[in-house]
Symmetry: C2
Subunit: 333 residues, 2 copies
Amino acid sequence: MGWARTRKDSMSQYVIGVDIGGTKIAAGIVDEKGGIVAKTVVSTLAEEGFETSLEQVYKSVEELKASGKAGWEEIKGIGVCAPGPLDPFKGVVHNPPNLPGWREVPLAELVSEKFDKPVRLENDANAAGMAEVKWGAAKGYKHVFYVTVSTGIGTAVIIDGKIYHGKNGMAGEGGHVTINYDAKDAVCNCGNTGCVETLASGPGTVRRLLAKLKNAPDEKKAMISAAGEKDDARVTMITVGKAAANGNKTALEAINEEAKLLGIWLGSMISVLDPEIIVIGGGVSMLGELLLATVRKTIPAYTINTRADKTPVVQAKLKNDVGIFGAAAVSPK
Amino acid sequence: MGWARTRKDSMSQYVIGVDIGGTKIAAGIVDEKGGIVAKTVVSTLAEEGFETSLEQVYKSVEELKASGKAGWEEIKGIGVCAPGPLDPFKGVVHNPPNLPGWREVPLAELVSEKFDKPVRLENDANAAGMAEVKWGAAKGYKHVFYVTVSTGIGTAVIIDGKIYHGKNGMAGEGGHVTINYDAKDAVCNCGNTGCVETLASGPGTVRRLLAKLKNAPDEKKAMISAAGEKDDARVTMITVGKAAANGNKTALEAINEEAKLLGIWLGSMISVLDPEIIVIGGGVSMLGELLLATVRKTIPAYTINTRADKTPVVQAKLKNDVGIFGAAAVSPK
């Protein structure tokens, strides 16, 4: 027994993470401490249909295998992230809008048979949340609410250190919580009215800002110029972020408003989930304290939880390669 | 071993449930199948201060013991419900507004020492939810969202058959989720704006209805008369319920509106929690299908969960003595 333990300890353990996006597939070999020892990116070739893009998934893993950066027997499993909707229990991708031709694909089974490794399939927000628990800002926490704010708002509910999936594997869609059912002009892609996603995501914030600036062309010009962009540049959240970092008042106000909406929503999430920590990732989280300070200040007024002011609200730690880290974090060991 | 098992099986097992309210304490001995074999009600005597009301708690258990309806050695534990805020981990009652003089009372420890039984303390909504899982409408389900709608809206998040408590033991306060942060006239007791509790509880519904009827005295009179009450009767949710049962349009509309708000909120809760079942208890749930049909119809339009229409939304089964059942359900075995 002593021998077996020594033997096991001396052998390194790795997992592979494969993050399938609509345009590219990023894959990596990740060690136990969260270091990426090999990495590859291939095109998804989504427009060429299911067979081709499945071959591309295989290709990404083959390339990692060929890299020789880890012995194949040291790879304990493969985690795969794919665009939703998907069934994490069965490992089946339903019919993602940005993977044409994919219909009820038993992806976990296919990849597992191809490479003779255990495989788990997960959606990206859940996976990114687990990566923060394993290697990032939520290390050491059991009950975590993970949020990614970018084009949309994704969340993960992590309970006792595991992703909480619910009945249909569809739990953790906190971005589609209604914070204003009366916001007739804020109908979300999901069909719901006044979801936090449609109000406080990057595009939601930009949309509201542009509506406000419609009759204030000088203010708009000043903001774009503060961002160091050309007069006629299309305003995105990056424009707003740059302008805010340079002290532009219009941009700062827009971020402040977004942060307040996030704080209102997170107050509710704390009332329901009372997590140990809230981790915020995604493109918009790069604003850092510019956003988070107001989020933290807003929360206590919008929750019944009298200890909410002590719940840490922190920026995600994993930024680059978060897709690979996420997929690797959900790999079976 | 065979002998021990036979022995154990042949001995009945009971638990005691003690439900402490601001005016009375209800307590009962409950068998494994959810039958109440003995029951008592004593006054809380809250106005006489902490020592007296603690003695009343003891008295309720003494009376059950003296009833002789179960052997004392057959009582496996005691579950206690007390007004919040409280700490379910430590079994401590903080400082409930309706129990003057109670300050950081280690109630679980006190009761356990007094009666030499294991004791667990829980808040009433969580306890009632567990009772529905053990003996009521959620029997056989693991992931349950329990709701009680009456003066307020309480909820319980039950995951893997256990109450989910979160970091501070304050999880499961779904009644304080904001569904309209912009509802300036709907400030909740918790300080938050536009919680579902302040909008869709019994009093919230009555408040909105009365505001609407302010300039429609005939309509108001017709509703009160349809309820079989006197012209100058104070309108409560009971009035509304009775009038609706008799087909009064004004009352039916008010219930419809309440049901829509509950449906909007439950859509969000399904997005986050994807429960196997939603159980609705509390006074307002007595409206039954009058309320629930509209709740069910509303949910799918307010959630991203594409299977939400298949999530059962049912009335609670335990009505009378729900306080005793709840306390008994959280007793340690």
